[in-house]
Symmetry: D3
Subunit: 135 residues, 6 copies
């Protein structure tokens, strides 16, 4: 259970209500997830994170929408964020990810975590040729 009381529509401040409405509109659903109802305990925090999420994850950009979900999931799996894993796997499935693609994702995440520790554990140094040059 969250450490603060989740905010329902009836008790939402006007500032929180405005964000809830933007969430509903942007996502084309009437449902507002627990994370937003929790952040609403402090409306400026809700507004900031929602706008950050909307601008980075929802607005069109160079990376396509499913690739963005993979990246978000790779971080959430590494940090073991149960909530984030559940909601972003649901989002990725809506965008076409099936079980095999999920398996490939999680296996790369595992491989990278292994590779990171081999490299850090033995303190391997960056090869000269992989150091960036800007002139």
């Amino acid at each position: 259970m969250p450490m603060v009381k989740m905010v329902d529509d009836a008790s939402a401040s006007p500032a929180a209500k405005e964000v809830f409405d933007d969430i509903r509109g942007s996502r084309n659903t009437d449902y507002v997830n627990n994370i937003w109802r929790t952040l609403a305990v402090h409306p400026p925090m809700l507004k900031r994170f929602w706008n950050y999420m909307k601008e980075v994850m929802i607005e069109e950009s160079r990376l396509d929408s499913l690739t963005k979900e993979y990246i978000y999931l790779a971080v959430s799996m590494t940090n073991n964020c149960e909530y984030c894993i559940h909601t972003h796997i649901a989002a990725a499935r809506k965008k076409g990810m099936d079980d095999e693609m999920l398996a490939e994702l999680v296996e790369i995440v595992a491989l990278a975590n292994a590779g990171n520790r081999l490299t850090q554990g033995l303190q391997v140094e960056v090869d000269e040729r992989f150091k960036p040059r800007f002139d």
Copy 2:
């Protein structure tokens, strides 16, 4: 500097030499990166990690090659693996990633790390609708 002596071609055991050759062939280059020369201190470790990397990252599969690099990088950035960040950014650039795409990647990594902590810090619970059902 690595915690063990890197293995050059002259001193490589036959088992290590065989992996070096496979690396050269698979990557179409004569250069063998520091990580492989370091792992070669224990040839079975070198062989296992190289095969794991080759099967998961290099062989054709459902996820395309650049997407795989993004996922590997998202993990490496979260774990601050300097070596891995350098080598996999180099690999991703070869596959078409430019500065703007790199910026999008790192910003999603930052956003996800923020979102993970908002959710974990307030102990938000998974919405019923995001729990997987299998029947």
Copy 3:
């Protein structure tokens, strides 16, 4: 459920009993938290961690008591320690933290986790002027 059996008063060794009494006295309560009853499986471990906690967190020092809780919580939120988040939020609330202050805390934790990854992901180097000089 903990991986070892928690120690109740009846079965506590004299060494564990002594620490339980010190906890009760220092905290002015009869209740002994699960963490202490678990560590009591190995009394020297219980005694060491309790003394460490008491000296660093409870004894008067330069940082005030609520600030110490914020720092402890910032770490626990970053590591997603469910137990620690619950008990130290309870402690901080007793010392005056309300929902808005908790929201500010968690938002800084999220911001810092984002900033850490922007910096590490792009491998930004320390500006000359921020390197410490001692002469």
Copy 4:
């Protein structure tokens, strides 16, 4: 060295230039840190993170300015962000932190990381009395 070329004033886009000017004004200095010159490779990313930082860390709020730095530092020390540790220790020193206060901060960070692992390693469960109740 950063993985992208840092942006100097001469080559900054109008959008990046505007943020640089806001940084100079808000901080009352002519110097723009490496992190901002790096993020400027993608001006929307620069603008988003600067605004997030400004609103959460610089604007007046319930937590005082030095306490905010402690929280930011506790996270950065746990994540071993060399850049962030350097710049935020410099900021905290400006706001009055001396060596002894820094020592207290880092010792609480160490203690919390130890306590988190004792609790997680033994899988201690939250006491009933520390579970939040909202009615």
Copy 5:
């Protein structure tokens, strides 16, 4: 609950069935753990991780079997992997670990996590004499 459907014997593909049989044989038990039934959603992933685990953890080598479990557990406790902590504590108990040895393990894990942050938080540099020399 896992994010994919666990694979029972009846629905296992021949490739997955073969790994299940190898697990049963190597471990001398008829029971196949949840992790393997979950990885079986993508048989090549199941096969790769099982072989990796078998070669590194089960086959005879320089480190004895219980020491290997301690190392695996030290990582799992630091990452708070609930599943891994449970299964590898069970494995270590079978190999002779009692409560006191478990307590020693978890206390070293806590101490190391503390020591890591003291060192990183204050950015202590490696003494010349501890830098490896190879000539």
Copy 6:
């Protein structure tokens, strides 16, 4: 370079000097490592961590001295603590660890980090039979 000035013998307070002497005696060497000279900026912190280290790592107990170093190293590699990796590899080598044993250690650390993420990424639940029972 550390964020505070390291304390040499000439400028050490009596409390710090006493710990330096205990280090020299316990380790049978005249050399005092950088970590201790850094912690000496706040003598109570120096004394606490040194005593913690001495009691857990140096005093005789159920786990042998080299096994303790492996556990400390497994944590330090997972957290990428460069200082700790260097000093504890040096300590382990003194106690008999050769290159092959180091390779086995780092490979288990990598494997465990991979296994942790497979399990967490797919949210595998603990099998009933691995849940501890105490009655």
